[in-house]
C-alpha cells in the first residue's frame, strides 16, 4: 500500500469541527417496522466515515433517505451548515451527494458512456454520442479509472462495473460520496485498490461515507465509525481508538463470539466427489472448468471465492439443476450425472440455496408447506396421490420445536417470518431427511449475529454427527471459522485446496484474485490531484455540481 502525498493541491479547506454532513433526528417507519428511530449522523469534511450495523439495523434506510430515494417521517439534513430538502435523487445530486449502491444501478444493455452520462447527457434534443464518449474517456483517464466507454456494461467484470459506478458520481462532480457495501463483490486485493481510491478522493477534497458490516475494513480505512443498532444510534467511535470487538459489542448489544469453537474433525468415508466437472453458465460461457473436489463424512469443505466465479453454477451442478458438459459427480460412490434434483434428494443430497427468498422458500406458502418442499410427493406426506395433512402437521411441529422457529405457528405465512427464522425453516427442512451430503451456499447471508451463530452451531453439530458439508461462502470469516479444508475457486477452477490449519488470509485472498494483481491500479496521488482540480473548477465557476433531471 502506497503512502499518499497530502500536498497542497487545491483551495485549502481546513478541517473544522463542524460536520460537513449532519443528519439529525431521522425517523422512518414502514408500517409497523421502525427502521430509523431518531437517528443522528455527523460526518466531518474530508473524512472517511463508516456506518455499521447488523442487517436490519437501519443503515441502508438512512442512506436512502440521504439520497432522496425515501422520505423520512421526521428529521433534517444539513450540508455545510445549510439545511437542505432532499425530495428525490435529483435534489441529492444537486446537493453534491453521489451514491454507489450495493447492487449496481447500471443498465446492462447500454454502454459505459451511456450509463455515465444518463440524466445529464451532452447535447440538445439530440444526444451527442461523440461528446459522451469523449467526456467519459477524459474523465476516466484523469482519475486513472480506465474503462472502455464504448463497452457494453453487461459484458464487464464486476470490478470494472464498480469503476463505472464511480465514474458516474465523479461525472456529476459529487462532493459527498456514499458507498453501500462496496467490497461485497471484491477480492481482498480489489478491496485494497478501492481503499486507495477512497484515500485519494478524500485527499483531493471529497468526503466519503462507507456502509459496511465488515469490521476489519472499518479498522483499515475509516476515520470514525457510527454504529446503528435496531434503528437507533448505538455509538460513535474514533477508529484509531477502538477495536473490532468494541464495535461488534455496540452493534449487537452484548459480547460477540467472533469465532466458533469446534473440535477436531472425525473424518470418515468419502461422500461426494467431483471429477473434472465442467459446465457452462446461462450465457453459454464456461462457468466451471475441470473442477475436482472431495468431501468426506464428518468434514466441512469451504469454497472460498468472490461471488461470480462459478459458485452458483457449482451449487446448481451438484443439486442437479445444471447439466455438466464433462466430468463426473459421485454421490456416495454412485455416478449421479444423469439424476435430476428429486432423485439426488432421494439419494441423500440436501441443499441450502444461496438466496432464501428467490430459491429457498415459497414465501406465500405457510411454514408447514415450506417444511415439506422436496418431500411433498413421498410418504408419509402423500399416500396414493393424496396429501396426508396429519403427517405434514406433525413434521412441522417437530421441526419448529427442534429449531426454535419463531413464531411457532405452522400456519404462519413464510413471508411474515424474520430473515433468521426463514433461514431456519430452510435449514430445518434440509436436515430433516438425514442427508448424507449437505451443500450450503451463503447460509448466513443477510442474517443478524444471533441467527448466524445458531446456524454455525447447527452446521458444526451435524458435521460432528458425520454429515459431509460443502460450504460455499463469500464471507472469508465464515469460511475460516467453519471449514476443515479450504478450496479456493477462481474463474471456475479450483485453484488450490488448503487444510484450514495451514491457511492464512493473505494467501487465500491472493488465490481468490487469481494469484496475481489486476491491471492498471489507480494511484492515490493521481486521484487526489484530479479530485482537487475538480473542486477548484467548481469553486471558481461558483457552480453547484451539475443539475440533473428530465
Amino acid at each position: 500500500m502506497t503512502a499518499f502525498a497530502t500536498a497542497d493541491l487545491g483551495p485549502s479547506r481546513a478541517r473544522t469541527d463542524a460536520p460537513y454532513l449532519e443528519m439529525r433526528g431521522i425517523t422512518k417507519s414502514f408500517g409497523t417496522l421502525l427502521a430509523n428511530d431518531n437517528v443522528d449522523l455527523g460526518v466531518l469534511d474530508r473524512e472517511i466515515h463508516a456506518v455499521v450495523g447488523e442487517n436490519g439495523a437501519g443503515k441502508t434506510t438512512l442512506m436512502n433517505i440521504l439520497y432522496g430515494l425515501i422520505r423520512p417521517d421526521a428529521g433534517e439534513i444539513r450540508i455545510d451548515g445549510q439545511a437542505v430538502r432532499i425530495h428525490g435523487p435529483r435534489d441529492a445530486i444537486a446537493a453534491g451527494i453521489g451514491m454507489v449502491h450495493q447492487h449496481f444501478q447500471l443498465v446492462p444493455v447500454m454502454t459505459v458512456a451511456e450509463n455515465v452520462v444518463l440524466g445529464q447527457e451532452p447535447g440538445g434534443i439530440m444526444l451527442d454520442r461523440g461528446a459522451s464518449v469523449r467526456e467519459v474517456r477524459e474523465l476516466s483517464e484523469r482519475f486513472g479509472l480506465i474503462v472502455d466507454p464504448t463497452a457494453r456494461v453487461g459484458m464487464l467484470p464486476v470490478g470494472l462495473q464498480q469503476r463505472v459506478e464511480l465514474l458516474k458520481i465523479l461525472f456529476r462532480g459529487s462532493r459527498l460520496l456514499v458507498f453501500d457495501e462496496p467490497t461485497a463483490v471484491l477480492t481482498p486485493q480489489e478491496t485494497d485498490e478501492l481503499f486507495e481510491i477512497l484515500r485519494g478522493l478524500v485527499a483531493g477534497g471529497k468526503t466519503v461515507i462507507l456502509i459496511t458490516h465488515k469490521l476489519n475494513e472499518v479498522m483499515a480505512i475509516s476515520d470514525r465509525v457510527t454504529v446503528l443498532r435496531q434503528g437507533r444510534n448505538a455509538a460513535v467511535l474514533e477508529t484509531a481508538r477502538t477495536s473490532p470487538s468494541e464495535i461488534a459489542r455496540a452493534m449487537v448489544g452484548r459480547e460477540v463470539l467472533l469465532r466458533v469453537d469446534r473440535d477436531a474433525a472425525h473424518i470418515g468415508e468419502e461422500r461426494l466427489r467431483l471429477e473434472h466437472v465442467t459446465a457452462d453458465s446461462d450465457r453459454k460461457l464456461p462457468a466451471l472448468t475441470g473442477v475436482d473436489l472431495s468431501v468426506r463424512s464428518g468434514e466441512i469443505v469451504g469454497i472460498a471465492g468472490v461471488s461470480g466465479n462459478g459458485q452458483l453454477e457449482l451449487a446448481e451442478v451438484l443439486a442437479g439443476l445444471r447439466p455438466v458438459t464433462d466430468g463426473h459427480v459421485y454421490l456416495g460412490g454412485e455416478d449421479v450425472r444423469h439424476q435430476n434434483a428429486a432423485e439426488r434428494r432421494a439419494n441423500g443430497l440436501a441443499y441450502i440455496p444461496e438466496d432464501r427468498h428467490a430459491r429457498g422458500l415459497v414465501l406465500p406458502f405457510d411454514v408447514k408447506d415450506n417444511l415439506i418442499l422436496g418431500s411433498q410427493s413421498r410418504a408419509p406426506f402423500a399416500t396414493r396421490g393424496q396429501r396426508n395433512s396429519a403427517a405434514v402437521e406433525q413434521r412441522a411441529e417437530n421441526l419448529i420445536q427442534q429449531f426454535d422457529i419463531r413464531p411457532p405457528n405452522p400456519d404462519a405465512v413464510a413471508s411474515s417470518l424474520s430473515g433468521g427464522n426463514q433461514q431456519k425453516v430452510v435449514v430445518a427442512r434440509e436436515l430433516a431427511e438425514s442427508p448424507k451430503v449437505l451443500v450450503a451456499a451463503e447460509p448466513t447471508r443477510g442474517l443478524d449475529v444471533g441467527a448466524t451463530e445458531f446456524i454455525h452451531r447447527e452446521l458444526i453439530q451435524k458435521r460432528d454427527e458425520g454429515l459431509a458439508i460443502l460450504l460455499i461462502s463469500s464471507e472469508l470469516d465464515e469460511i475460516f471459522s467453519l471449514s476443515d479444508a479450504i478450496a479456493v475457486i477462481y474463474q471456475g477452477r479450483i485453484v488450490e485446496v488448503i487444510p484450514s490449519a495451514e491457511a492464512d488470509r493473505e494467501r487465500v485472498g491472493l488465490l481468490m484474485a487469481g494469484g496475481s494483481v489486476e491491471t492498471a491500479i489507480p494511484s492515490a496521488d493521481r486521484i487526489a490531484q484530479a479530485a482537487a482540480e475538480q473542486a477548484t473548477r467548481d469553486a471558481a465557476s461558483g457552480a453547484a455540481p451539475r443539475e440533473g433531471g428530465t
Binding site: L69, P89, R90, I93, Q105, V107, G123, I125
Partner: protein
Amino acid sequence: MDIVGTFGPIFARPDLWAGTLRFAAPLTLAALGGVISERSGVVNIAMEGMMLVGAFFSVVVAAATHDIVLATLASVVCGGLIAAIHGVASIHLRANQIVSGMAINLLALGLTSFLMFRFFATNGTPANIPALPDVKIPVVDGIPFVGDVVGDQNIVVWLSILAVPIVWWFLFRTRLGLRIRAVGEHPRAADTLGISVFGIRYLCVILSGLLSGLGGAYLALSVAHSFSNNMTSGAGFIALAAMIFGKWNPIGAFLACLLFGFGQSLGINLQGTGFPDQLVSATPYLLTVVALAGFVGRAVPPAADGVPYEVGE
C-alpha cells in the same frame, strides 16, 4: 388445387399490394405506439381499445361538426385519454398491466357499443361524414402498376410510413429516447440519476394512445366511412403481434405490419377462389407464435417491461 394458376394472377393485381399498404397503415401506427410504451416498460395490450375509441369519437365528432381536422383531433385525444387511464392503473396503482390492458379493451368495446346504441340506435352512423383525404402523387400516378399501388393512397398511409423513421430517431438518437430506454431496462438506475420514471412512462403510454387513436380514426373515417361495433376486430392485437415479431424495434415492427397487412390483403383477394381465406387470415397469429418460440431468433422485451416500479428499496 392449382397453386400457380390461383396465386399467379392474384399476385399481379396491383390491388393486392395497394391493399397491403392500406391494411398496414393503422397497424403501423398502433404498433409504433406499442413500441414506445413497452420500451419505457409499460406493457400495452390495450391498443385495440384505444383504436376503437379513436374510431368511435372521430365519427361522432365528424358527424357533429363535419370538420375533418376536429374529428381527427378528437380521435387522437380520446386515444390518449384512454391510454392515460391505463397509465394510471399501471404506473400509479401498480395494477397488473395485462389485466389493466384487457379491462381497457373490454371497456372500450362496451362503451363504444353502448354509446353507439344510445346515439345512433340501430340505424348506424350517418353516411355523409367527411373523410381523411387521399394523396394523389402527380407523376407517379401515371406509371402502370406502381402508380396504382402508391399513386393514390390516403394521407394516413404516408403518415404512418413517415412515423417509422421518426420514432426510430426519437428512441435511438435523442436524449429523451435514451432515458426512455433506460427506464424500460432498469428503472431504478434511472431513478437514482434523477430521472422521473413515472413521468417518462406516462409520456410514453399517452403517446401510444395518440398513435393508436389516429389509427382508429383512419379505419373509421377513411376506410369504412362509418363506425360499427367492434370494427377494429383484432387490429390492435395484430399490431401487438407485429411489435413482438419486430422485436420491439420500430423498423422491425413496421416490416411485420407490412407482412401482416399483406396477409390480410391476400385473404381478401382470395375470397371466391375456393382457397380457405379464413386460414390465410390466421397466418399472422401463427407467425407470431413461431417468432416467440424462437424460430426467428429470440424475441426479448425490455428488461423491466411489465414490472411496476416502486420507489425506494
